[in-house]
Symmetry: C2
Subunit: 216 residues, 2 copies
């Protein structure tokens, strides 16, 4: 199988990938908190294993088999996060680091039984979709709160930033997954927003609005 380091690279390439551009060495170095030269070494290894398409200086894309592995790791990560929150009563800001370790437990039989045990959840505690056993993801159409307008309302459904600091702040403002909000006012000076939540008015900065996802 693949080493822990290889799995982390594949997952990071997946997260950085989009339809247009390929993923650069520096993007990976930043995300993985390592040096560009280390990334280059690993890219050669992953290319040898046919998990990525890599042309020196041209960045990298996952092959189909690389993407399959990445999706399986993300599936494991999100199912373990769900387990930690729903079964062991952790808060949503406490589970990411643990899941970073647990996602590398190799048994697929284990993860499939865990999935069943929890009733096949579709989203993790941060609103991210959980890939099913075949790697299928249930995308839903989310917008950044910063991109909606006064009087628009909807359900908070995801976060772009997963840092404990941010998640704890949202918790305090009752801006958590599933909560319904509407936009009362947008301050032109700094693009900060005044929101109506289920129980109070909340004033959020544009940075916060830029990292919060909503289903209209």
């Amino acid at each position: 199988m693949n080493t822990l380091a290889e799995e982390n690279y594949l997952k990071s390439i997946f997260h950085l990938s989009d339809a247009e551009e390929s993923v650069s060495t520096n993007q990976l170095a930043t995300l993985l908190n390592t040096k560009a030269s280390s990334v280059t070494d690993m890219l050669k290894k992953l290319a040898d294993k046919a998990l990525i398409n890599y042309t020196p200086y041209q960045g990298v894309r996952l092959t189909l088999s690389g993407e399959k592995i990445a999706l399986n790791i993300i599936r494991k990560h999100r199912l373990w996060e769900y387990f930690l929150v729903e079964k062991l009563n952790f808060k949503w800001d406490q589970v990411h680091e643990m899941a970073e370790e647990m996602e590398h437990i190799s048994s697929n039989e284990l993860i499939n039984r865990l999935d069943k045990f929890m009733g096949y959840p579709k989203f993790d505690p941060h609103g991210d979709p959980i890939p099913d056993i075949n790697g299928q993801i249930n995308h839903h159409n989310l917008k950044l709160v910063s991109a909606i307008e006064v009087n628009d309302s909807g359900t908070i459904s995801g976060v772009k930033n997963h840092s404990p600091n941010f998640l704890q702040y949202l918790e305090k403002q009752t801006l958590t997954i599933g909560k319904i909000i509407s936009v009362i006012e947008i301050i032109p000076f700094d693009q900060s927003m005044i929101l109506q939540t289920e129980n109070k008015e909340v004033h959020i900065s544009s940075e916060v609005a830029n990292n919060l996802l909503i289903a209209l």
Copy 2:
């Protein structure tokens, strides 16, 4: 903290330790499926970290802090095995390899919550006692089935061998943890034994009797 390899060495030293003798390099090499020279290297490292007392050529013993770490890993191993059997419905012969990986998940908060979630079980699926949060073990007094006599009876409470082959055999003979048996006859020629189980008579070899533990 400690690496995965260090944790596995500490656990193995613990399992091989007894009151009298210290653990030898070769014993460790055999159990860990590695070479004696590799063991020597690691023993130096663990001694530098004050986790073992090591004198070249004289074998090794855990220090108090080494033992604490070993017991914590064993606690994790056995709690995860319990989880896999009781919550995810694995059989007792399927869980050891998975637990070998899961015992290295670092969070103690996680394992303590898992313990609570499962109702603080005292024994793992193989009858082995689960150390509590302070490393205390609930020893109970078990005898090898090979050491008891005709007409003795008791409850099957543990196994010395954990191989899937052996466990599957026991399952087939309904010689599983908690079952009550009594000795009908011991064949002098080969020390094999005829046992009365709850629903049938079973004839077991002396090898089997030597790996099965009973509470009288």
